[in-house]
């Protein structure tokens, strides 16, 4: 992974990286490649990906009912800025 790709991924992930961080990730990735090479050694022909420990049918169907309510004040209590019951952010349309 080159440094431009690292920066592009960081932008997609919505954070910035310092030059030092980019260099560190770049260096670490080189050794990570060796580690990831161990994955390629395993024959996975005709093997399905495993996405959860157990593949059991979902049996816990339930009626939709309201049983966990939080108030508007609780929903907004952690917002940085709020106004008239809404989270306030900078204007999108100017």
């Amino acid at each position: 992974m080159d440094k431009a790709t690292i920066l592009a991924l960081a932008t997609e992930l919505n954070f910035s990286l310092s030059e030092e961080e980019v260099n560190n990730i770049h260096i670490e990735f080189e050794s990570l490649i060796n580690l990831l090479g161990l994955l390629e050694k395993i024959d996975t022909t005709h093997v399905e990906p495993m996405v959860y420990p157990f593949e059991m049918p979902l049996t816990q169907m339930r009626e939709d009912k309201v049983d966990h309510e939080i108030t508007q004040a609780e929903a907004l209590m952690n917002a940085h800025v709020q106004k008239e019951g809404y989270v306030l952010v900078p204007k999108v349309v100017k």
Partner: protein
């Protein structure tokens, strides 16, 4: 131990170990039950209504949740008293206790050494005898490894045995709630308290809560302990090996049968990279909600995009940002088949082999870690060695497979704690606690 004694001890050890994010002095018993008046500490990724819950991240360092995790209600209904929220590696990522926004967590047995992670603080508060019960979470080995390094019992029941509703996630297909206790009997009790189906967590097992405490005994006559031979072979610390052999010999004297069991070495060496890819890819997606718009340490910005970027830049530590970059790399269209899907396929191959191994015995046993806790500074790791890839990281297989797994303190190495791990078949916590109790009893006899 009562609440007052517990809080005094928590305050006493805080300066040296940094085990807690918050010490809670005003919680009281609300019900009678198995935990009546017993102090319990929670890893700070357990959501607690009205109490700061940081997830070990600066981004959440001002977050006061409007609800509580299901396990908090269960602890309260059993009579428990919450006394602390404990330090963790940021968002549960990390195995050293050095990656929390609030500083390094230190091993109470030797302050120059790691406590292990990510459930560092919870391990430490039990080791320091400030509480007998502390909740953790275990995605790779985040309960069972620190348990080994600080000398306490660390339990990770079957995947889905304990509700994860209200636990800040790391990697959903690997995340388990786990916990630390001072002994195996307490571990069985805690499993009975916390287990059970939860309509708020569709991944909980649709079975009754466990009832392991009532039938718990250490009679292992005729029980087959599968010695995880590859792990033993990857340990290069003579004292760890000598201790393990002594415990195994003591188990034989109790009537247990030892059976050597192995897995393909290439497969074992592939476990850590498999974990690394799956966990980082899942984490990248899971934490996309940490934007700073609705909650968190919001930074001012010119527009919503700018707020998110500035908040996530200031709020996440360098380790997290690195892991997200790697996770995102693994999820890119051109890498997904080669990395993420390949890791998921290797996971299945490993689990199939591991299941066969478990079918040959009542439980697999091996040293939990290759030696005592590493030093905080100057620890040197050869990342491609079998000691690192197998002996230090094999416990991740229980996260792949969802199998119940427990670390019990063994005999000391260099005068410091070191654990033994036992893993059993899915949903067979009863056998796991029985085998663990026998190990605990053997260690007591040998000390």
């Amino acid at each position: 131990m009562d609440k007052t004694t517990s809080i005094l001890k928590l305050k006493e050890i805080q300066a040296s170990t940094n085990a807690c994010v918050t010490i809670i002095e005003n919680d009281e018993k609300t019900h009678e039950g198995l935990l009546s008046n017993i102090p319990v500490a929670l890893k700070d990724n357990v959501i607690t209504k009205g109490i700061l819950t940081t997830g070990g991240s600066k981004l959440l360092s001002n977050y006061i949740p409007p609800y509580s995790a299901t396990i908090v209600h269960k602890i309260k209904q059993a009579g428990g008293v919450i006394v602390a929220k404990t330090s963790l590696d940021e968002l549960g990522m990390g195995g050293t206790g050095t990656a929390s926004f609030n500083g390094i967590v230190r091993n109470p047995h030797d302050l120059t050494r790691q406590a292990g992670g990510s459930s560092s603080g919870s391990a430490v508060v039990v080791a320091a005898k400030a509480v007998d019960y502390a909740i953790g979470s275990d995605t790779g080995d985040s309960v069972r490894k620190p348990a080994s390094f600080v000398g306490v019992v660390g339990t990770k029941p079957t995947y889905g045995r304990i509700s994860r509703y209200g636990i800040i996630p790391y990697a959903s297909s690997l995340d388990h709630v786990g916990y630390f206790t001072s002994n195996v009997t307490q571990a069985a009790l805690m499993c009975d308290v916390l287990s059970g189906v939860d309509p708020l967590d569709q991944t909980t097992l649709p079975v009754c809560p466990t009832n392991t405490l009532e039938t718990l005994n250490d009679n292992v006559s005729g029980k087959v302990f599968g010695i995880f031979e590859d792990v033993v072979n990857a340990v290069n610390d003579e004292e760890t090996l000598k201790n393990f052999e002594a415990v195994c010999n003591a188990l034989v004297k109790k009537g247990a049968i030892l059976k050597s069991i192995s897995m393909d070495e290439d497969l074992l060496r592939a476990c850590l990279p498999t974990y690394y890819i799956i966990a980082n890819c899942e984490a990248t997606a899971n934490h996309s909600n940490l934007t700073g718009v609705n909650f968190g340490l919001t930074q001012d910005g010119e527009d919503v995009e700018d707020i998110m970027t500035k908040t996530r830049t200031v709020g996440f530590g360098p380790l997290i940002r690195k892991r997200f970059v790697i996770g995102s790399y693994g999820l890119k269209d051109e890498n997904q088949e080669k990395l993420f899907r390949q890791a998921q396929k290797v996971r299945r191959v490993v689990v199939d082999e591991f299941t066969k191994m478990l079918n040959e015995c009542d439980g697999l046993i091996a040293p939990a870690t290759s030696s005592c806790a590493p030093l905080l500074e100057g620890a040197n790791t050869n990342v491609l060695s079998n000691t690192h890839l197998i002996a230090e990281n094999y416990m991740v297989i229980s996260n792949f497979s969802g199998t119940p797994s427990i670390t019990i303190p063994s005999l000391p190495v260099k005068g410091l704690p070191n654990g033994i791990n036992i893993t059993c078949k899915v949903e067979d916590e009863a056998t796991m606690f029985k085998l663990a109790l026998a190990v605990e009893s053997c260690v007591k006899e040998l000390l």
